[in-house]
Symmetry: C2
Subunit: 276 residues, 2 copies
Amino acid sequence: MVVHKVAFQGERGAYSELAVIQFFPNSTPIPVRSFQEVIETLLSGVSDYAVVPIENSIEGSVNEVYDLLLQSNLFVIGEMYQRIHHCLIAIEGTDQGSLKEVYSHPQALAQCRHYLNEKKLDPVPVYDTAGAVKMIKLGQNKNAAAIASKRAAEIYGMEILDVGIEDRKNNFTRFYILSRDPTYTKPSGNDGTSIIFSVKHAPGSLVNILSEFARREINLTKIESRPTKKTPWEYNFFTDFEGHVLDARIRDVLRVIEPKTAFVKILGSYKKEMTG
Amino acid sequence: MVVHKVAFQGERGAYSELAVIQFFPNSTPIPVRSFQEVIETLLSGVSDYAVVPIENSIEGSVNEVYDLLLQSNLFVIGEMYQRIHHCLIAIEGTDQGSLKEVYSHPQALAQCRHYLNEKKLDPVPVYDTAGAVKMIKLGQNKNAAAIASKRAAEIYGMEILDVGIEDRKNNFTRFYILSRDPTYTKPSGNDGTSIIFSVKHAPGSLVNILSEFARREINLTKIESRPTKKTPWEYNFFTDFEGHVLDARIRDVLRVIEPKTAFVKILGSYKKEMTG
């Protein structure tokens, strides 16, 4: 059996590592520090695939990942959804009554705001969820807890004081599976395609392009604008829609919009996953 | 002379404080910890106005601010643009050769990546630019520098080792000026309007709404999608366009799109500022 190496961003125990294990059950997850390093690890061949978060149902898009997908010559070969369950994690034997502060990534803290208010715990933003667990472990701090995944607690040998502490239960993260290989997977009959395009400088350009999809009854599932970074307040549009690049209807719409765009890039087609 | 109190997010010396001083030269800036607290400070009457970053020309939109504008009953009465100049800041008398680490907000670190690589300095992400300066000052750390504004260096009595260290010179942040008062300023002839809307569940809904703007030759300057947070993968669209709510053409388009949306909210009309 081939054991794939799969790069992810974060400390061991990060939600991205859980996503790797969920999509590639028999893989070796490779933790790296930044999204930039995830891309470099895959491009250099140190890993076979990469798994990156692209959007959260509460927080929205992961902008840095979108920007890296524009620059790098990588392909989206799959997607997956993960339900986020936050845990309150502390050093073994910590008394809940002695807790004063809770460390985590600002987004995780924001997602547990009501819980923290109710328990009168002071949120302290740090740069990573699993990193917050590690920090408390190393400091042997018994007045602080961290918010992170169950897996992070297990990896660092910590106690889980509470589970499912997120304020909203519809908290999902969508991940892309990235590959160096541009080969399209066969259409499954339930596929999605992701592209990037920018518009020419003319009023109505964006509407003109989007209406080509509407005319063919191609369902747009997402449209996200990101600055081009070259000219302030000019944007690239990251667009997801239903269908596969090898479908006649999709080939047709891509052929028609091409001359209307300033630039267009196909990120990939992949089997659509179910979401909550 | 009335001295307005104006809330902003961050430590003293933050880029947002510079924006307050630029828009309200004779005001008292009120620093608070989070964007949530900025909104609360204004709603409770502790401040008269608030200044919040809404978008950066490199990093894109400030999602948390968009989400707070949806929930809170505040109005946008102005906009402004700030050119971002990053400084390398250290304790007075620090030798550049002894520097190993550079502390700052992850976005500021990313914006100076080439500079840090060239100087072989190790980036350390912390939660705030001005906070990084304060941290080095308090720790009296002579092996570390911070990336922050010139003003942050002045406030904490630190030395500026280098200026303009950002990789790209077209680095601007756009700010909104917020007020509790819904009164529209008079049309100036060069105005912008910001609205939020969501679409009904039908293919082509978004295109249908946007084409009403295109048909009237109303120039859309920005469209940003944010999750509704109620139903995963449903979005609110934050849209900026040229014109004033008191203009006949804008009144007309708002009247026409209203029944096509699931919901629409006018954030405000304001005099458009120049940008680079």
